[in-house]
Every structure is written in structure tokens, then in C-alpha cells.
């Protein structure tokens, strides 16, 4: 293999419903211009894609650096002639309890629904289903995947109906009529919702990962009388450590950027579920404080950058 080519990441990072499967590229050292494209035509072929990416992906990200230090507003005087206000947006964000609230709720949301909820449920399902027979496995996997692929507007309403105060299914089943789950427990509701929504990815990833654990080692551990927990800790985990980290980083990134809770609670009641994405929307687009919203956007981009860099480092380590 040619050492000169830097390896591409194993998985295409962005957006589900993409699988984490390996994208192993061939050695690039053998590349010859077989179709006779020539460098100029090749550049012309690449240009439209690069132009679109530059204008609609790269430019907005870099623009937040400038926008975040202005008092840009949607209407009024500062809409026509925005002024540079320096770091005012950042200092007022840090002293704004509403921002602190959003940050705390986001942490709670990511930790509760992604790091705990999806990971634990996804792994437990992958572990228990690995030996299960055809139809049981098929049924569970289909339902979990359906929850993942249905459009977010639809699942949002399904959950509003499920948790409705007067004739929601949950209250009917539990006999807790009159409990307004989305008003009384908004964060718990969206955490359970997001666990339901996103477990599929962890299930698929861990399902593939468990296939890499040699059955003979598990068998030996079982013969030696190791409990299930001991088997998981001492035999399974060392084999799938990389997958666990990959899974945690990716679902944290996606959950951190998830706007779907807006469709269920819109950040309410009384900002009780106003996670950062909803906060940015409410402040910047709804209230029109674009400069301030850009500052928050930049902070979100930085968090994404940190998670993504961790992920890339992880991939490189696993490769070497």
C-alpha cells in the first residue's frame, strides 16, 4: 500500500441513515488518467461541486466569525447598518441565565438520550438479539429501524398523541388520566423520545461489532463460569472498545444538533425544554437577534468541531 496517500476516514461522518461500515479506498498510487480527461477538464468537473460547497457550507461557517461580533438584527436600524460590538454578544450570552439554562438542558439531553439511552438500549438489544431466532430479531429490528427512518414531523406528532393529557395512549394504559407529560416532565419526555428515535444506529453498529468477538473466547469464559457481566467486561468490551467510542461520538454529535424536540415541545413550557438548537432558533430567527444568534451558532460549531476532531483522531489510531 502506498504510504503517500493519507487514508480517508472509515465512515462518512454526516447524517443518518448512513451506515458506519468501512469505506476502504483503493491505493491511489495506481491512478492514471485512463479516460484522457486532462487536468483542465478534471478541474472543470470538480468546480461546480466545490463552488456549491464553498458558498453554502464553508462560507456560512466562516461568516459566523464576523456576524457574531455585530449587532445584526432582522428589522430596524441595525438591520440596515449593523455595527461591530466586539465581544459583547459573547459576554452577554455568558451572563444570560437563559443561555445557561439552554446549555444545561442540552447536556442533560445529550447525556440522557444519547450517551445513556441509545447506547445502553442499542447495546442490550444487539447483545440479546445476537442469538435470537429469525422472526423475533426481524420484528424488533424492523420496529427500531422504523422509528429511525420515519420523517421527524410525523414521529413528533405520534409522540404528542402518545403523551396527550386527555386521551393519550400512555395515560390510558397507565391509568394516569390528566397527566400532561409534555408540560410536567418536558425534558424527560424528549429524552425518552430521542432514545426511541435514535437507538437504531447503536443497534446496527453494535450488532456489527459483536460479530468481531471470537465465539471461542466467549465460550471459554462461559465454561470457566464467568457471569454475563464479567464476560461483557473482560471478553466483549476489549474487542469493541473502538466501536463504543465511535458510537458515542457520532450520536452525541447528532443529538447535540437535533432540532426535532422543537416539533414536540417548541422549547416550552416556560423554557423547560429549550435546548441549544431551539434556543438559537427562538433568539435569532424568531426574535430577530441575528448577531447574538450568530455568536451562539459559532459556539455550537466549535463544539461540533471538537467532537469531530476526537472522532478523526480515533479513526487514525485504530488504523495504525
Amino acid at each position: 500500500m502506498a504510504a503517500s496517500t493519507s487514508p480517508p476516514p472509515e465512515s462518512a461522518l454526516p447524517a443518518p441513515p448512513e451506515s458506519p461500515a468501512a469505506l476502504v479506498s483503493q491505493s491511489a498510487a495506481t491512478v492514471v488518467d485512463v479516460a484522457g480527461l486532462g487536468r483542465s477538464r478534471a478541474t472543470a468537473f470538480v468546480a461546480p461541486a466545490l463552488a456549491l460547497i464553498a458558498v453554502f457550507l464553508v462560507f456560512p461557517a466562516i461568516w459566523t466569525l464576523y456576524l457574531g461580533i455585530t449587532d445584526y438584527r432582522l428589522t430596524g436600524r441595525s438591520a440596515r447598518a449593523p455595527e461591530i460590538v466586539g465581544l459583547d454578544n459573547y459576554t452577554s450570552a455568558l451572563s444570560d441565565p437563559r443561555f445557561g439554562n439552554a446549555l444545561w438542558l442540552t447536556l442533560l439531553f445529550v447525556f440522557g438520550s444519547a450517551i445513556v439511552g441509545q447506547t445502553v438500549l442499542g447495546f442490550t438489544l444487539a447483545w440479546t438479539l445476537r442469538t435470537a431466532g429469525g422472526w423475533v430479531r426481524g420484528l424488533v429490528e424492523t420496529l427500531v429501524l422504523l422509528a429511525w427512518i420515519l420523517p421527524s414531523s410525523v414521529v413528533a406528532f405520534l409522540w404528542i398523541a402518545l403523551l396527550d393529557r386527555d386521551d393519550g395512549t400512555l395515560n390510558t394504559l397507565l391509568g394516569t388520566g390528566g397527566t400532561a407529560w409534555l408540560v410536567e416532565h418536558p425534558m424527560a419526555s424528549i429524552i425518552v423520545f430521542n432514545t426511541w428515535r435514535g437507538t437504531a444506529f447503536s443497534l446496527l453498529l453494535f450488532g456489527a461489532a459483536l460479530g468481531t468477538v471470537p465465539p471461542s473466547q466467549l465460550e471459554t469464559a462461559r465454561m470457566a463460569g464467568a457471569s454475563v457481566l464479567a464476560q461483557l467486561r473482560d471478553v466483549v468490551f476489549p474487542h469493541i472498545r473502538g466501536h463504543v467510542l465511535t458510537n458515542t461520538l457520532l450520536i452525541s454529535l447528532w443529538t447535540f444538533n437535533d432540532f426535532t424536540p422543537y416539533l414536540i415541545t417548541a422549547g416550552g413550557p416556560n423554557r423547560g425544554s429549550e435546548i441549544l438548537p431551539v434556543y438559537v432558533y427562538n433568539v435569532a430567527i424568531f426574535d430577530g437577534q441575528l448577531g447574538y444568534g450568530s455568536a451562539i451558532s459559532l459556539l455550537m460549531l466549535l463544539v461540533n468541531l471538537v467532537i469531530a476532531l476526537f472522532y478523526l483522531r480515533l479513526l487514525r489510531e485504530r488504523r495504525s
Binding site: L37, R39, L146, G168
Partner: protein, 320 residues
């Protein structure tokens, strides 16, 4: 060992026609159960059978609970559209197809589905065209810094999400006078999908034998002819994957069209769906349920198509 587990073990031992080990005092811990455990390990059939049976019971209980958790919210989606008097709690429907007439008669419902199709196909076509051209020349012509470039783009597309960059994207489109333009939404969505599309397509093109193009060139085909008559047919699975992936992504996307399209005549189904249950009075459940179903069917159908054709783990499935 829990009290419950211990008593289950004793019951099992009793059933096997053997006196249960005497119950130990508070301080004896595991001791009382040890004999039966030993028997199980040395091949005693009774302990093993009981443990196995308990394991099965535990397994099916877990599967039932998980199935209920995942299926419960979705029951409404399959029951309510065919119910003459749809409520929020799913019930055995008093079968009717009349609800679909409500859907047909709503002026926004069908128009919004048409908008969804326009956005999805427009984005898929543009991403496919630009992505395939770029991927092909990146695969066949050695452009300096190519791997680093691809790597950076992929990293960027996972960092610059619609949520984190909604403010600068909104402002950019505002300045370009592309608010309320479906073409504008297509451009933004394409920019976001292109890096991963190029990455995956390049992978497909790398694995295509160069001899095909060489022989086409021997017969005097021009580069564009080679692309159209050789490369496209050979890499069709990759192109189909990207097309389906793009359509599914755009079909479910709420945020970007939500902030960029204000005119309800131009909004896609994901956005219009929300107005059905947030705007004014009692939600029309006949309309919402049928609309949800019709809106969900395409993604489920495409998932089934991809799953059957290539296996859900796209990349591994096709390359293997």
C-alpha cells in the same frame, strides 16, 4: 444474589426432586445456593434446565417490553387513518377510507407533498450530477492535495450542520434574496450533502476497473462519452445509493425549509404537517393521520428497496 433469584433456584431444585438447600442466615451470602450452582456447572441437568428456562422467560419479557416501547407510538399511524372516528388513542378501526377524502380536499396537503417531491428530486439530481462529475475526476486524475481536500470537506460537512449554521444560512439566503425560493432550499441542501456524496461515489469509482475506460478510449470515445456510456452504467449501484440517501434526507428535513420558506404554497410536507396540529383549535385527526401515512410511505418504501437490493449497510453490502 437477590432474594428472588435464590427462591427461584430453590423452587427449581425442589422440582428436580431434591431437597432445597437450607436457607442461610442474613450473613451467609451466596453459600446456600452453591450446591445447585455447582451441579449446573458440572452438567447437572436440573439446574441447567431451570436456568435456561428462566433465561428464556427473561429474554421474551425483555423483547416484549422493547417491542411495546417501539410499537406503541406507531400504532396510531396504522390505525387512525382508517378509523371513521379517529381519536388520539389507537383503537381497532371502524374501517373507512373516507379520511383520505379529507386529505384530497385540503388545498395545502397535496401541494405540500408536491413541493416535497420537487425539493427531494431537485436536490438528489443536483447532488448526483455535481457529485458524480467531481468524484470521477478525483478518482481518475491526480489533483495535488486531493486526499486532504476530501478529508477536510467531510469533516466540515459533519460540523456545519443545518442546526449549528441556521443563522448564517438564513442571513445568506436573505441577502441573496432567496428566501421563499425552492431553488434556494435545493442549493443549501445540496451543499450540505455533497461532501459525503463525493466521498462515497469516489469509492465506487475507485473500485471500477480501469480497463473498461481504456478499451473505450481505444475505440475513440471522448471523455464525456466514456462517462455516459461506461462509467455511469458500471457505477449504477453507487449512484442509486446516493440518490436514495439524498431523497430520504431531504424528505424528512424540517429545519431548512422551515426557516427559508415562509409562503405556505411553497412549503414541503414536513413543514405543512406541523401547521396542521399547531394552528388553531382542535386538530383535524382525519387529515393529520392520512397525511402522516401518505407522507411516510415513500421513505419506508425506499428503505425496503435499498434493504432488499443492497442490504441496509450500504457500503459493505455493495462492495462485497
Amino acid at each position: 444474589m437477590s432474594e428472588r433469584e435464590r427462591s427461584q433456584r430453590e423452587r427449581g431444585a425442589r422440582r428436580a426432586g431434591r431437597p432445597a438447600a437450607p436457607r442461610g442466615g442474613a450473613g451467609t451470602g451466596r453459600a446456600p445456593a452453591a450446591p445447585s450452582e455447582e451441579r449446573a456447572l458440572t452438567g447437572g441437568s436440573a439446574g441447567t434446565t431451570v436456568r435456561h428456562a428462566l433465561g428464556r422467560i427473561g429474554f421474551y419479557t425483555f423483547v416484549a417490553v422493547v417491542t411495546a416501547f417501539f410499537a406503541l407510538p406507531m400504532l396510531w399511524l396504522v390505525a387512525a387513518p382508517f378509523d371513521a372516528t379517529p381519536g388520539l388513542t389507537p383503537s381497532i378501526p371502524d374501517f373507512t377510507m373516507r379520511n383520505f377524502r379529507t386529505l384530497r380536499d385540503n388545498p395545502y396537503a397535496l401541494a405540500s407533498l408536491r413541493n416535497s417531491i420537487l425539493l427531494a428530486l431537485g436536490t438528489a439530481a443536483l447532488a448526483l450530477l455535481c457529485g458524480a462529475l467531481a468524484a470521477y475526476s478525483l478518482s481518475r486524475v491526480r489533483i495535488p492535495g486531493r486526499d486532504v481536500l476530501l478529508y477536510l470537506l467531510l469533516l466540515l460537512s459533519s460540523i456545519v450542520t443545518g442546526t449549528a449554521a441556521m443563522v448564517p444560512i438564513f442571513l445568506l439566503m436573505f441577502q441573496l434574496d432567496l428566501i421563499d425560493s425552492r431553488a434556494g432550499v435545493v442549493l443549501v441542501l445540496t451543499g450540505g450533502l455533497l461532501p459525503a456524496a463525493i466521498f462515497i461515489l469516489k469509492d465506487f469509482m475507485d473500485s471500477m476497473p480501469r480497463s473498461y475506460e481504456e478499451s473505450a478510449r481505444v475505440f475513440g470515445a471522448s471523455p464525456l462519452q466514456i462517462l455516459r456510456d461506461v462509467v455511469v452504467p458500471v457505477t449504477r449501484p453507487g449512484l442509486a445509493t446516493i440518490a436514495v440517501w439524498a431523497v430520504v434526507n431531504v424528505w424528512g428535513n424540517f429545519l431548512i425549509p422551515f426557516i427559508l420558506l415562509l409562503n405556505p404554497d411553497k412549503q414541503p410536507a414536513a413543514v405543512v404537517m406541523r401547521t396542521f396540529y399547531t394552528e388553531g383549535g382542535q386538530p383535524n385527526l382525519a387529515l393529520i393521520s392520512t397525511f402522516s401515512l401518505v407522507f411516510s410511505i415513500p421513505v419506508v418504501a425506499m428503505y425496503l428497496f435499498v434493504n432488499r437490493r443492497y442490504g441496509f449497510r450500504f457500503h459493505g453490502g455493495i462492495k462485497a
